[in-house]
Each structure stands twice: as C-alpha cells, then as structure tokens.
C-alpha cells in the first residue's frame, strides 16, 4: 500500500519495443538501414514492403512498373529475404511485417530465411499484419475475395500456434481505419469485429482443437492508431483492453486472464501530420506517443513513430532517427516507467472509457447483426461509415471548426530552415527497379525448374484441398518460387476481388454541405455545365498499385456535392484503363490520385496515352504526396494542376477544376 501511496513502483516497467517502419529500394539497401537503426538503439524491426510485393507481383510484372522499391522493400524470392536480414540473427530479433494479402507467403520466406541462417523456427518472434478487412476498408492491398482471404489468415493462425508459438499471426489493425477517418468508436468496434471474424473462422476449423483456443486468442495482437486528441486516445486503448477481455471470456470461453490481455502496437497518426509548417509535426508526434504510453494499464507493447516530414515525401534516415529519439527520451529520460497506472481511480477517465465502450459495443453489435465484419465489408456498411466520418472531418477543417495549426489557423510563418536544400526528402534511385529486375531474372535462371514446378503443384493442391497452405508455401520458398508465382497460383484458384468504394452511399448531413466556398464552386460548376450543354463530368482515377483511396474518395464525394457527375472506379487501375474510361465515359476532366511516389512514371504514361487517343485536350489534375520538383516535371508534361496535402480546401480545388474545364485548351 505504501508503494501505492507514493505511486511509485518498486521496479521500473520495461520499455516497449522501439520500431521504425522502414524499407526501400532493395533488400540490400534496407538491410543496411536496419543494421544502422539497430545500432542506434532500435529494439525491433518493422518491415515495409513495396506495393508489388504486397499485392503479389514480381518486380518485372507490368503492374509493378514505377512501384518497385518505392514505399518499401521489394521481396520477390528467398534470396531477397536472406539479403534483407543478412547479419541480423532472426532467432533473437522481433520483426513486424506489414504484409496482408500475401502474408502467408512472406512468413514462409521469413521462416525459410531463418532456416537458412540455421535458426530454429520455433523461436521466431514477430508479427505479420495480416488484417485483410482493413485492406478492403482503407489500405487497398487486398488481392483475393474475403472468404479465401480469411481462410489464408486462419491457415496462418492454425500453423503458427504450434510451429511458431511466439509469432503473432495477425495484428488486427484499427490503425488504418483512423487514417481513413474512423472515429474512436468506429476504430474500436471494427477492430473487434475483425478479430471476431478471424477467431470464429479458426474456431470452426477441424484441425484446431477446442483446448487450443486460449493459446490462439493469446496470439492475437492489435495495431492501433493514436491521434492528437491524446486523452481520448488513451481512453480508447483502455476501452479496447476491457472489451477484449470481455469478448474473449464471453465468446471464446478463455479462462486465463493472461490469455485475454490486450496486446497492441502503435503507429501514431499520419493523417494529422501537415505539409504546412512540418516542424510542428514533431510536437504532434510526441503528444500522440504520450497518449499510448501514459497509462500503464493500457500501454502499448511496441511503438513506431512516423517522421516529421512524411507529408512531404519519403523520410531520410535522419528523420527516422529523430522519431526514434523521441521514444528513447520518453522511455529512458523521463520518469514515465517508474509509476503504477496514473489514472487508476480517475472518475474522468473511467467515465470516458465507459462511454467509448458502450458506443463501441452498440456499433459492434450492429456489424455482428449483419453477419460480421466480412458481411459488413461486402455490403459496404463499414466503408460508407468511414467515408462519411472522413468527409465530416474534411468539412470541419475546411470550415475552420477543427483547428489545425499552420493549416487553417496561424498560417503565417517564417521560412523553415529545415526545408532548405534540395535533399530534404529521400528519393529512390530510378535504377533500383532495373537492378531488382536484373537480380530477379538471374535468380529465375539459376533455380531448378523441376523443384519450382513440384512446389507450385503442392501449393495448388493444398489450396484447393483446404489443407493448410503454410507447409507448401515454406517448401515453395525453399524451392525458389517467386512472389508473383505464389500469388498467381492462388489468384487462379480464388479469383480477384474488387471492394466496394463506399462513396455512392455516403450520406451528407444537411447544413454541413454548405459553405461560402462550396456555394461558389457549385455556381461555377453550374455555369460551366450550361456552357458545355451537359453536367460537368469528372473521372477520378487511382493509377498503379497504391490502395490509399481516402483522398480520391473525398475528391469524388466533394465533386458530387458541388454538382459534378463523378466517375470513380476505385483503386489499382492501369493507365490504359484510365484512358479508355475517360474516352468511353465522355468526361471533361480527369483527376488522378497517387500516394506511392510512383507519380513520375504513371502520370506521364497516362498523359501520353491520352494524347495518342486524341484526348490531349482533356485537362488532367493530380493529387498526392508530390515533392515540388516532381510537380514541376508533371506540369511540364501537361498536367494542369498538382495538389498536395496542404491544399485542404476541397471547395477551392473544385472551383479551379471547373475553371480549367471552361478554359480554352492550352496550345500543345
């Protein structure tokens, strides 16, 4: 009791695992980065894969063009995976892999790489993200339809619980839901619904006996977001811990309280990081990190912090180091880890937690009533709620009701010395893609074709016969199968999926839709439409493999709200498809959204194809994380406007688009 009075623990709490989400260019370059980060005191790894790897394509696939090594490391085969962890003993590492549709394959490669190192797979520790539901809802790197995707996840759960018992086969992500605009209540409810979908699927398997369920439950981990409202975020974490405890006890009969512990990692919010006055992001990141570490009872197990300048482009090693130092100062310099829970007995926190729990329960029951998370993906319910919530947020920023320093208030600023110089972000060398393809082709040439054939047949058989795909996948990894080959086998068997965009059903509260700027845009659209003889029609397209559709969705919704007819076709379109749509649909203007950094290749490809199709007169605007130098190149290629995250006023963008359509075409 005396300890409690002092509030001081007899021994310090152990710090959480420090990670940095990283990887780019090539396995070799990423390996160097990881080793450097580990020497700086990072205690775990968080692997970012490039989009072709995440969506199951080899680096030389046509859809991979422009994307290789951009948002993460390209891993096409076992040699890549071995190179990624060269000199890093996997037996002693804790590795988190942000991988979903192809998670079973990347885990197989990881196991095979560990075996190459002579490691015992049973000792491996780490996490495969493997949450397909949030891919459908927000992140967009899904491949297969929901049902076979869920089956792959449950295969991994069933496999790891015996073979790699310290692995977290799934990290249920509410992180990306918040990035897509989710309110805390939605974040809690949809994450719980996803975990329930996975656990129900595992429970239904014949190869997982009932007595294994507590071990299965104890390996389910979560990956949360933490926004700037850090008090509420802390309460959200507490609410999730309590709900998880209740659900696992009530629904799955887990008696051991330790097996019901809510274990979670965090990447703090990127949605709220600003391009304007980006130095302020450091302060935002610190406060958000506090939100998930302050309460001992609901403290995260692992933390990764974004870099202050990620709204500008790819962060440099220095920028990532700065974020790591935040964690180290918080854990080692402050007295945070010396105390028991600071909020025990706080009526304010208790009330907030209770309120969040109650609302989340209600929303969760609604989703379960529809048939669960998968049903609520297919009928677009969750997606529509997210697009709505995000729309409300965007409108609040536009209207100044949600103040964001440097963006819609206090915009006056001294020039930032941090942005001086051309090297203020990292650019991936254009030769990375070519070199990766050369390595891939050399690898294919030297492997044993017979082994590959047998391994692929085994994989196909396992997948078709509902046998666990993990052993066959690990065999395939050793045999030299590539990422694209593995995914192609399953694509042929399972088919590919297109998730609902969620934009068509978005309800807009009356009154919210009107502002002076919106009214101006509406008038402009009306007048341009009258000139055109039919309503202004816009194509909103997302070329390439990038699935972050939040921006495109908001543009689509806003365009409708100002009276445009909007063709929005979802993610992952090829330039050829975009041009064919533009022509067949008879649009007046095209808006492209790209966040993967592959804008250079893809947008210019679209521009060339438009010209060839005789549509050179159709104005094109581009939005995304686009550094100014690139923006200039795009404009030189004929792009009429380039929008970046600092252009938060969507009404103004709409007005400009309408003006562009009205302008006579620029001389070619």
């Amino acid at each position: 009791m005396s300890d409690e009075v002092a509030g001081r623990e007899s021994k310090q709490d152990r710090p959480w695992v420090f990670r940095t989400y990283s990887g780019h260019t090539s396995a070799k370059a990423s390996n160097e980065l990881y080793r450097r980060n580990l020497t700086k005191g990072q205690t775990g790894l968080s692997v970012a894969f490039d989009l072709p790897t995440q969506t199951g394509y080899d680096s030389d696939h046509p859809l991979a063009r422009g994307e290789v090594g951009k948002v993460g490391v390209p891993i096409s085969h076992l040699e890549d995976m071995c190179a990624l962890f060269e000199g890093i003993p996997l037996e002693r590492m804790n590795t988190s892999m942000t991988i979903n549709a192809t998670a079973a394959w990347l885990l197989a490669l990881y196991v095979a790489a560990a075996e190459h190192q002579g490691a015992d797979a049973r000792l491996l520790q780490g996490t495969t993200q493997n949450d397909i539901v949030k891919e459908y809802l927000s992140r967009g790197t899904y491949v297969f339809p929901p049902e076979p995707s869920l089956r792959l996840i449950s295969d991994m759960v069933a496999y790891t619980v015996d073979a790699i018992p310290r692995w977290n086969p799934i990290n249920v992500c509410s992180y990306h839901l918040q990035e897509a605009g989710a309110t805390p209540v939605q974040e809690i409810a949809y994450a719980m619904a996803t975990a329930i979908a996975v656990l129900d699927a595992v429970r239904a398997r014949r190869d997982v006996p009932k007595e294994k369920i507590p071990s299965v439950v104890s390996r389910i981990s979560f990956f949360l977001n933490a926004g700037i409202r850090f008090v509420e975020e802390m309460c959200k974490c507490c609410a999730m811990a309590e709900l998880w405890d209740e659900i696992t006890r009530e629904r799955y009969g887990v008696e051991d309280p330790k097996a019901r512990l809510f274990r979670y990692g965090v990447q703090v919010n990127s949605l709220g990081l600003t391009e304007a006055q980006p130095e302020n992001n450091v302060i935002r990141i610190v406060l958000e990190a506090l939100g998930v570490t302050l309460s001992k009872r609901a403290r995260c197990r692992a933390l990764q912090l974004p870099a202050w300048n990620e709204a500008l482009g790819l962060p440099r090693p220095f920028d990532q180091q700065w974020s790591l130092r935040i964690q180290q100062i918080l854990a080692y310099e402050t007295d945070l880890l010396e105390y028991a829970d600071l909020f025990d007995g706080s009526p304010v926190v208790a009330a907030k937690v209770a309120e969040l729990k109650e609302s989340a329960r209600a929303e969760l029951d609604k989703v379960l009533g529809m048939g669960g998370a998968i049903a609520a993906v297919e009928n677009a319910y969750m997606k529509q709620r997210l697009v709505e919530a995000h729309t409300a947020r965007v409108r609040a920023i536009e209207a100044g009701k949600l103040p964001i320093v440097g963006v819609n208030v206090y915009q006056e600023t001294e020039p930032s010395p941090l942005l001086a110089g051309s090297q203020s972000i990292l650019t991936v060398d254009e030769s990375a893609e070519r070199e990766q393809i050369e390595r891939l082709r050399a690898f294919r040439a030297k492997r044993n074709a017979k082994d590959v054939e047998v391994a692929l047949r085994n994989l196909r058989d396992a997948a078709a016969n509902r046998t666990n795909v993990m052993p066959a996948s690990i065999g395939a990894a050793h045999a030299g199968v590539t990422t694209g080959e593995w995914a192609d086998v399953l694509r042929a068997l399972f088919g590919e999926y297109r998730a609902p965009t969620g934009v068509t059903g978005v309800r807009v509260a009356a009154g919210e839709a009107s502002s002076a700027a919106t009214d101006r845009a509406r008038a402009q659209v009306r007048s341009v439409s009258a000139q055109l003889g039919r309503p202004l029609k816009i194509l909103v397209g997302k070329p390439g493999l990038d699935g972050h559709s939040n921006g495109a969705e908001q543009i689509a919704v806003k365009a409708r709200d100002v009276g445009m007819e909007v063709v929005y076709e979802g993610i992952r379109l090829t330039p050829a498809e975009i041009v064919q749509s533009a022509r067949d649909e008879g649009v007046h203007v095209i808006g492209l959204s790209i966040l993967s950094g592959s804008h250079g290749v893809l947008v210019i490809d679209v521009m060339e194809r438009l010209r060839k199709a005789g549509l050179g007169h159709v104005p094109v605007v581009v939005g995304g994380i686009i550094p100014e130098g690139d923006a200039e190149r795009l404009r030189a290629a004929g792009v009429r406007r380039v929008y970046t995250p600092k252009d938060f006023d969507l009404a103004r963008i709409m007005e400009e688009i309408a003006e562009l359509v009205a302008e006579p075409p620029a001389a070619a």
């Binding site: 068509t504 003889g533 039919r534 709200d561 007819e565 929005y568 067949d584």
Partner: protein, 319 residues
Amino acid sequence: MLARDRDAVPEALNRIDDARPGQREKALELLGALEGAAPLAGPPRVGLTGAPGAGKSSLLDAIVRTLRASGETLGIVAVDPSSRRTGGALLGDRIRVRSSASDPGVFFRSMAARERLGGVADATRAGVTVLAAAFDWVFVETVGVGQSETDVATLVDTLVYVAQPGAGDLLQFMKAGILEVPDIFVVNKADLGAVAARTAGELEAGLGLGWRDGTAGWTPPVLLTSARDGTGISELVLTIRAHRRHLESSGSLEARRARSKEAFVEETLERRYGSYGTAQLGGPAGIASRVREARDASAFSLVLALGREIEDALRKPLP
C-alpha cells in the same frame, strides 16, 4: 456514321446529351436517323434492375464474360441516382464490371439519372439507341427504387429484376410492385444457400398469385444465380435469349416497342411542355393516336416534330 464503329460511340453519346439550344435538335435528328435505320429485330436490349447491394454489377460482369466468351459485343449503360440537392452524382458502379476494363468488345457508359429521380434519364433512351447501332447486345443497369422498373421497361425488350436473398417477404415484393413488370427474376448470391432459396420461393409464390396475365405466353421464371461461384449464369443468359426469341416469335416485340415509343413520346413532351403544352395536341390520348398514326417514324423524330407543333400552338395569341 455509326456503321458499328466503336470509336464513334463516345462522341455520339456526348452529342446526344448536349442540351444546348440547337444541339438538342441536332441530337434528336441523329437519333431519329439511327432509330429509323435500325431493324426492329436489332440487338437485344436488356434491363437489369434491383435494389442497391443485390449484386447487379457483379452479375452483369459475369454476363459480360459469358457473352464475350461466345464472341458477342456489348454496350452497357449504367444509371445511378443524382443528388436531389446538388444535381451531382457518383457513378461508381463500373468497378464491379472489371471484365470490360481493357476489352474493346465491351463499351461502358455511366449516366446520372439527373432530374428523373429513381428513374432513368432521357439520355438513357438515347444512349440505348446509339449503342444498339454499334453492339450485339445492349444492357441497361439501374438501381431499383420505385418507378425505375417501369421506367426501364419502356427502354428494353427484356427486364431482369435482381433480388437479394432475404430482401423481403412476399408482402414487401407485392407492395413494391416489382412482381408486375419484370420478365425474368433472379435471386443472386445463391451461394448464401437456404436464404436465397427462400427468397426465390417467395417470388415464385407471388408470381403464382396471378399478378401477371399469362396471355402473353411468357411466365416469368425465377432463377438462382451466384456471380461469385458462377452458379446459374449460363442459364440466365440462355433464359434472356429465350425471352428474346419468344418476343420475336409471338410478335410481342413489335407491340412492346410500339408501346414504349408511345410512353416515351408522351412523357418527354409532358416533361418538356407541361400538361398545358400537351393539351395542344389533345392530351395523352391525342399524342398516343398521333404516335400510332406515324408508325414508321422514330420516337425521337416524333418528339422533335410534335414538339414543334406544340411550340407553334403556344406561340399563337390566345383567342
């Protein structure tokens, strides 16, 4: 200009949608010519309607793949509702029809319903006429909310209603009036099992209650399909073909086209000139008889010609 020329289709569709004075008349002339030149038989025109979420687009995607496998080309118009307040529209359906993405044998145009809430735009009929000149099949996809079934029925030869398993009981189907118009009923998502079979049963029971007069010799079948696993897709395509053959052999195709022509001319004139305007031609009955008299004229040329008469009549000073 439209000698089955795919490349000319987008521009033709843009032109017929041009509401500027002068352009509108030119569009009607173009359409009149197209319709006049079209043989009655022409390509089958099929409507696909049903509540949101019933899986129409995925079903259409499966139909597209089936027809493309036998080398037939398709033109598709998808109609989405417009916002009543802003006039804007989100046309997002295309994403489900992936097989059309880079295939020149499939043409896809999405349209907003505009002022026709829950229905199909004037431009849709015009679009159907353009597409019929260029493709082997024309499909019209609409969201079924109330009047659209009857609306689409006047544009197509075969109307397919797509129901979602568990969408409702018999009473709800009857109340919604959906038992009366469609030629084929489909319960999609048959992979859901018992609930789909139950919904099919409700529909069959409803159709057995004599909502439809059987005199036309066609009893609307209720089919179970699954766009997901391919169940019933080829049967659906065969049934659509069978309905078309039935229309031709029974002579109903001609009657049906004539009826929809009347409805279209009357509605278009009413919308454009109001009831005072149409009264100049003797109201609905007068217009109907004028349409019947001019049996060989296309709907569009009639709208143009009768519209001019109304305008002339309205210009005369009141007695």
